[in-house]
């Protein structure tokens, strides 16, 4: 390793580190770092790995409950689901890679989150995804959508994990910065949950999975250009997913976990070999020594720096019991995978990497994490917030034709059917799917048990833009409500906090507000946060995305045969509206689609009422009193009613009357919170009404199922077939722009 350029504060700055951070590194090491060491620090201290701008704030989230087995801090969170089983889950972003190469970016996003979950010893049973694209008529949007959706499907389908739900929204705020958040849920036995803490001095460190190439090397692009004669050659490349190898890795790792050779395991995600080594050593309070020459390599002539920081996919690092190397090898051989012993656990608290016989890296492990930078960045309310929140209903003309407005809403990209998306996903494989995509939450049975799990992912970023605190409260409530209307009780959530550049005070303010909103909603509904991910720097050309704190939530259903879907089931059933409607249109889909405005304040939310409504629906579902349930969200009661009809297996219509207590547009399309549409047997209704009264939940019979039309008062009377034609194919029509 001769003739290496001197490493200076300038090199550090080119790696995205600040001058103070450089000083810190020098003081930790007692000398300037080598080039490789600098690479390690820059990766470990990047926002992505160190959470330096968010850590201080994330601490305020509630993370504990009796049933929490693993909270934040491991590869994924875990909660008890009875029968000695645990649900293991996490959501993660893959935004930037998906904008550069939509198919591969989205595919590798799915691959990454799957590894996070099976690393814990869980068999993945379901994937979800939350997607944000720019305006549907933005020239890049169709290609991005097609690529991302094909990538998610291409990877998940091939690995054999069902993709059972998600969300897709279009908004000009994401024109230059799409969001691709992927979620995986797995099931593990309590005693087989694995963690990533190295132990046992002398135990071998084993590399398994794909060979290492020059994929996505962090910060290396400019840095290596200086000293490489062939800079084209060393340019970091886009990561390409190999789902087949992932499938083998999944099966091999789960098989290995059934044996007793495994001590610790960690996937190689961001900052690859470096972060997996440092984190495993750090969690175990030990050291790790590796020999880079023994790392299986895909290309010739890779440097130590590249091997350390490569983000090649489908790789895992594990620590096994000394002497059990042959057993490990036998399992990986069976699955035609490589397993190479590349190092061992040490007691010196150092991360050491040798290359060509020399020590290229020698870093004390604890300080890398303990003394990682921590920032309390300045926050300031956006200057235009007050102006954005202004909305005078008086100045908005009421629609002359509400039926036209309903049709326009149902054909809009945000409210139309997402069938075109989810039919590209295998939602059935492994046979857990009781309710697949197309309802409020997906429901999965747990084989060998009467129970089931419900999962959903939600966020209305328009609300968050107008008021990030309330927006985040609503995101948590909506997720929880989606579980309630499926009959499930929330066990925990995983958040994916997508924001702009945290160095901008207004972005930091949005972030803090959103955290406070999540915290308050979680405390009120008693839902712990068990895992999550922060994605900052979602800006392009100085413009930040709307704040998007995506909430993925998992709930339990004691008797899965009692779970509910949103579609009407039987003609003659009574349609019941729970909750209170207010005259509010701020931040609504109606305002955006019909009037082209994003303004006002998001709907009012009363956490007490929310809790009562959810508890009521859950109990009534468990008692088998309900035929269907659907939460009222974007598009209000009219759109929710249409969805209940369109999701009905027999496409049943409805006849509904609403008290004209307010403006027709607010009545039909307003998005007041804590509302749910139920359908119940006529005989059952009086009992349900009494129970609602007892529980302090406003409940009103508003109509009856069954008619080939959807009729709402004097405002709307439209054949279902017509609505179906608008709603069903809208996305496909909108995307079938030039390939």
């Amino acid at each position: 390793m001769s003739e290496r350029p001197p490493v200076t504060v300038r090199t550090a700055e080119e790696h995205g580190l600040t001058a103070e951070e450089w000083e810190k590194i020098v003081s930790i090491l007692g000398r300037p770092p080598t080039f490789e060491e600098l690479g390690v620090f820059s990766a470990m201290w990047s926002e992505h790995c160190s959470y330096k701008s968010s850590r201080a704030h994330l601490k305020s989230l509630p993370t504990s409950a009796l049933h929490v087995i693993q909270g934040p801090g491991e590869n994924a969170g875990a909660v008890d689901i009875g029968d000695g089983l645990a649900a293991v889950f996490k959501i993660e972003s893959h935004n930037h890679p998906s904008f550069i190469e939509p198919y591969q970016g989205a595919a590798t996003g799915v691959g990454g989150i799957l590894r996070d979950v099976f690393t814990m010893g869980a068999r993945p049973i379901a994937n979800l995804n939350s997607l944000r694209f720019g305006a549907i008529d933005h020239p890049r949007t169709p290609q991005l959508v097609k690529g991302v959706v094909a990538g998610i499907g291409g990877y998940g389908n091939c690995v054999g994990v069902a993709t059972v739900g998600g969300e897709v929204y279009f908004d000009a705020g994401y024109d230059q910065n799409i969001l691709v958040n992927a979620f995986t849920l797995g099931i593990a036995r309590h005693e087989r949950i694995f963690r990533a803490a190295a132990s046992g001095v002398g135990n071998p460190v084993i590399y398994v999975g794909s060979r290492t190439g020059r994929d996505g090397i962090h910060g290396a692009s400019m840095a290596s250009a200086e000293f490489a004669e062939d800079s084209e050659e060393k340019r970091p490349t886009v990561q390409v997913g190999d789902p087949f190898t992932e499938k083998l890795l999944l099966e091999a790792c789960l098989e290995l976990m059934e044996s007793d050779c495994l001590v610790a395991i960690q996937d190689m995600g961001a900052a690859g070999l470096t972060s997996s080594s440092v984190e495993m050593a750090g969690r175990g309070g030990l050291g790790i020594e590796i020999d880079l020459d023994r790392v299986p390599q895909r290309e010739e002539g890779m440097s130590a720096y590249e091997i350390l920081l490569s983000e090649s996919q489908e790789r895992m690092l594990l620590v096994a019991q000394a002497g059990r190397e042959p057993d490990v090898k036998r399992i990986f051989d069976k699955w035609d995978l490589q397993a190479a012993v590349i190092g061992r656990v040490t007691d010196d608290g150092l991360f050491r990497a040798r290359w060509h016989g020399e020590e290229a890296v020698r870093i004390p492990v604890q300080p890398v994490s303990m003394q990682a930078p921590l920032y309390r960045r300045p926050a300031e309310e956006p200057k235009n917030l007050n102006e954005m929140q202004e909305l005078s209903l008086a100045s908005l003309p009421e629609p002359r034709d509400c039926e036209e407005a309903l049709k326009k809403l149902l054909g809009s990209p945000n409210l139309c059917s997402k069938r075109w998306v989810y039919e590209q996903y295998d939602s059935l494989v492994r046979g857990h799917t009781v309710i697949g995509p197309g309802s409020d939450a997906a429901v999965l049975r747990i084989k060998g048990s009467a129970r089931g799990l419900a999962v959903t992912v939600d966020c209305n970023s328009r609300y968050c833009l107008l008021d990030p605190y309330v927006g985040a409260v609503i995101a948590v409530c909506e997720a929880s409500r989606n579980l309630a209307v499926s009959g499930a009780r929330p066990l925990g959530l995983s958040d994916c906090l997508n924001f702009g550049n945290p160095e901008k005070p207004p972005v930091m303010w949005q972030f803090q507000q959103a955290i406070a909103g999540i915290r308050d909603a979680c405390l009120s509904l008693a839902i712990p946060v068990v895992s999550g991910n922060v994605s900052f720097y979602n800006d392009t050309d100085g413009r930040s995305i709307p704040p998007t704190p995506t909430i993925a939530m998992v709930g339990l259903i004691d008797d899965v045969s009692r779970c509910l879907a949103q579609g009407f089931r039987r003609a003659g059933d009574v349609i019941v509206l729970l909750g209170r409607s207010r005259e509010e249109l701020g931040g609504s889909e109606f305002l955006a689609t019909i009037h082209g405005q994003v303004r006002g304040t998001p709907p009012w939310i009363d956490l007490g009422l929310e809790k009562r409504v959810q508890g009521f629906v859950r109990a009534a579902a468990a008692d088998g009193w309900l035929r269907s349930a659907h939460d009222v969200s974007e598009g209000g009661v009219a759109v929710a009613l249409a969805e209940c009809c369109l999701a009905s297996p027999d496409r049943l219509g409805a006849r509904v009357d609403l008290e004209p207590s307010m403006r027709s547009d607010a009545l039909l399309f307003g998005e007041s919170q804590s509302r749910v549409l139920l359908s119940v047997d006529r005989q059952q209704w009086p009992r349900l009404r009494d129970r609602a009264q007892r529980d302090g939940v406003p409940a009103e019979a508003i109509g009856e199922v069954g008619s080939p039309h959807l009729e709402i008062g004097d405002w709307i009377d439209v054949p279902l077939d017509e609505l179906a034609a608008i709603w069903d194919g809208a996305l496909e029509r909108a995307l079938r722009v030039v390939a």
């Binding site: 094909a150 499907g153 291409g154 389908n157 091939c158 690995v159 054999g160 190999d242 789902p243 087949f244 190898t245 499938k247 083998l248 699955w335 035609d336 989810y422 039919e423 590209q424 996903y425 295998d426 939602s427 059935l428 494989v429 492994r430 046979g431 857990h432 799917t433 009781v434 049975r445 084989k447 899965v560 045969s561």
Partner: protein, 247 residues
């Protein structure tokens, strides 16, 4: 009866096939690992869905060379019952055990949904519990399920009753709209000339329990079970009662 479900690297619906056979139909069902040529005395072989070997070159192209498939070939030649579903169908075609090939869906996208099938021949081991013309609702999930064979092969298939299922609409008509992948003549499943090797793109193993999407697939497994029981009762004699219909 004893069933073997092949497991290739990349098989995904192997677990579903095992579940359908053992937990739902109460059969003895064991996985058969691709590297092991021993069929362990099974009475029937299921080639399951998934992405064998990643399906990176062509679906099913690599699986046919595996050691277990050499034994399956011999098993089929001796009249043993072999059922390929989805990727299993692709593998059997690639292996030459069934005629034709499965090419990219007309839409160019993967498609997962429940479809209607019409039973075209009820005198086969796979459909003996169905009625001709009966409709079954069974899911599909594939990116390359468009059945292709040249004209003369198609003619022979039709003439010999080897077409098992067609994609139809709710009214039972084989319309272009009801054809989810562009399959020629809406073909969803076929059998070989001797009537013991079956291939279909839809997944009957995902339609055996009401709670997870219907029970129409049961009739097909039930058919095979009855066939095997009958064969056993005949003392493993002639394996050719319900073969292709000569019309």
């Amino acid at each position: 009866m004893k069933w073997g479900v092949l497991v290739f690297p990349g098989s995904n619906d192997d677990q579903d096939a095992l579940w359908a056979l053992s937990s739902v139909h109460r059969q003895e069902a064991i996985p058969l690992w691709h590297k092991d040529p021993d069929l362990r005395g099974v009475d029937a072989v299921v080639v399951p869905g998934g992405f064998s070997y990643g399906d990176y070159l062509r679906c099913g192209a690599m699986a046919r060379f595996s050691p277990v498939m050499q034994s399956v070939r011999a098993f089929a030649a001796a009249g043993g019952i072999v059922l390929g579903m989805c990727n299993g169908f692709q593998i059997l075609c690639e292996a030459g055990l069934l005629p034709g090939a499965l090419v990219r869906n007309r839409s160019l996208t993967f498609v997962c949904k429940r479809v209607w099938l019409r039973v075209e021949n009820d005198r086969t081991a796979l459909t003996r519990c169905c009625r001709e013309g009966e409709r079954l609702q069974i899911p599909i999930k594939h990116g390359e399920g468009c059945y292709f064979a040249d004209e003369s092969t198609l003619r022979d298939l039709e003439a010999r009753g080897q077409v098992l299922f067609r994609y139809v609409d709710a009214a039972g008509e084989a319309t272009p709209e009801a054809n989810p992948n562009g399959a020629l003549r809406s073909i969803a499943g076929v059998m070989n000339a001797s009537g013991n090797v079956f291939g279909m793109m839809p997944h009957p193993e995902h339609a055996v329990e009401a709670i997870v999407g219907g029970e129409d697939g049961r009739k097909l497994f039930q058919s095979l079970i009855e066939e095997l029981e009958e064969r056993a009762a005949r003392g493993g004699g002639s394996r050719r009662r319900t073969t292709g219909r000569a019309t």
